[in-house]
């Protein structure tokens, strides 16, 4: 009796034998070949236990976040596919606040016009105070996130990236509202901030040092601190007016 070769056994086991029926017939009659086949099976069963490292449930999203800028796809203005419900709710709240403030400002009777000495902006009524508060909070959050981003390593990148994406959406809404309200100085601060938030949201780990260097060169964190201080000062000036 001619026994099956190792190649025939392996191909039989894999279901790739070209003479499947003949091999099966031989195995029915040959205990030695059945033992060899069992040995092949044991080895391949062992190989099947080879473990691969685990990637978390967010791995697909992480891959996409790194991939998207490389594909030349910009982050969507509203993309509920990649936003969690919490983040979507936060964006919706900011949007409602800004839109509500805008329309409220259009329908509310304005106080008797009095000469004012506000140097660089037209934000003064109750409606605009809401926007000022939102912008102030936004600047503080952006400052915190960019500060973390400036000091982060590539391992922590996804966390800052998510925060930056959220802030990017808020930033666009507020910048547009500020432009409509004629506050060009603050809109310009947010425009610059938007550039860095975009980079932070789309940064690949190897791009991190370059972005961090430019953040330091342009003093963006310092400018944010100054802008935030100005906003808070304007809020303080406006609050006593509101109580009058």
């Amino acid at each position: 009796m001619t026994h099956l070769t190792e190649e025939q056994l392996v191909l039989y086991y894999l279901g790739e034998s070209e003479e499947l029926a003949a091999a099966r017939a031989h195995l029915d009659d040959c205990a030695a070949c059945r033992a060899d086949l069992a040995a092949v099976q044991r080895t391949l069963n062992l190989v099947s236990t080879w473990e691969t490292p685990e990637r978390g449930p967010e791995y697909g999203t992480q891959v996409w976040n790194q991939l998207r800028p490389r594909l030349g796809i910009r982050a969507r203005f509203f993309s509920f596919q990649w936003m969690s419900w919490t983040r979507a709710a936060s964006t919706a709240a900011v949007a409602l606040l800004v839109i509500g403030a805008y329309f409220l400002g259009r329908v509310s009777p304005r106080p008797t016009p009095e000469p004012r000495t506000v140097a660089h902006n037209q934000l003064s009524d109750g409606t605009d105070r809401m926007l000022l508060v939102s912008v102030g909070d936004h600047l503080e959050q952006s400052q915190r996130v960019l500060l973390e981003f400036a000091n982060t390593g590539s391992q922590e990148l996804p966390l800052e990236r998510d925060s930056a994406e959220q802030l990017l959406l808020d930033n666009r809404l507020m910048r547009q509202s500020l432009q409509r309200a004629g506050d060009r100085n603050m809109a310009s601060v947010l425009e610059k901030l938007e550039r860095f938030l975009t980079e932070a949201a789309n940064a690949r780990p190897e791009e991190l040092p370059e972005i961090q260097r430019r953040m330091a060169d342009e003093g963006v964190l310092f400018q944010l601190r100054v802008a935030n201080a100005k906003i808070r000062e304007r809020q303080r000036k406006l609050l006593p007016t509101a109580s009058n």
């Binding site: 190792e6 190649e7 392996v10 191909l11 894999l14 790739e16 040995a39 092949v40 044991r42 080895t43 391949l44 069963n45 062992l46 190989v47 099947s48 236990t49 080879w50 473990e51 691969t52 490292p53 990637r55 791995y59 697909g60 999203t61 891959v63 996409w64 790194q66 991939l67 998207r68 490389r70 594909l71 030349g72 796809i73 969507r76 993309s79 596919q81 990649w82």
Partner: protein, 195 residues
């Protein structure tokens, strides 16, 4: 209801690049496992995943739908991995042209299968087996390793593997057989222990 691969692909081809996110999120884990088995290295596997999706996106218009989208991705990943390994080897040869292969390298590292399982602790044993498995896979040539991985772990047919690696049916079968042969030899002392 989940969007099908075909619908997501159509969306991308119609200009909505974000449709690709569905495919990336659906296949990233499987692609990572495949890439890890082919490269044996986590960082390399992550890179293969990124590069595979990048290439898939850029040539999505060429996907004709005859094979499953996952098979098409595996093909891209396999080719990229093989190219990458070749390039790494070429660089190594240029940098170290006088290096000689150690004796026995051609057939693998030629480590001796152990006669006895070490120690009674199953966890330790399991860890040791994982190391041995990784080493045994390392002994395969890139082509053998890729062909075997696609067959054994991903259950692709000989024809699909042949298409992916641009090999004929016989060459594909031979690659897989040689892979199993080497694995049997290198894991001879372990196959019974683990069962």
């Amino acid at each position: 209801m989940k969007e099908s691969d075909g619908a997501a692909i159509q969306r991308v081809l119609a200009g909505d690049g974000d449709g690709f996110q569905v495919l990336v999120e659906r296949y990233s884990h499987a692609l990572f496992r495949l890439a890890y088995r082919m490269t044996g290295n986590e960082a390399d596997a992550d890179d293969v995943v990124q590069e595979t999706f990048l290439r898939a996106y850029r040539s999505l218009a060429n996907y004709d739908g005859r094979a499953a989208f996952s098979t098409w991705l595996y093909r891209i990943a396999s080719n990229y991995t093989l190219d990458r390994i070749s390039a790494t080897r070429r660089r190594a040869e240029i940098l170290h042209p006088l290096d000689q292969k150690p004796e026995g390298e051609e057939d693998g590292r030629a480590w001796q299968p152990v006669e006895q399982a070490p120690g009674p602790d199953r966890l330790l044993l399991s860890g040791e087996i994982q190391v041995r498995l990784a080493e045994a896979m390392e002994e395969l040539t890139p082509q053998e390793r890729t062909a075997f991985t696609l067959r054994h772990f991903e259950d692709l047919s000989i024809e699909e593997i042949g298409n992916a690696l641009q090999l004929g049916s016989n060459a594909t079968r031979n690659s897989i057989f040689r892979a199993v042969q080497k694995l049997r030899r290198n894991l001879a002392g372990w196959a019974g222990v683990a069962s």
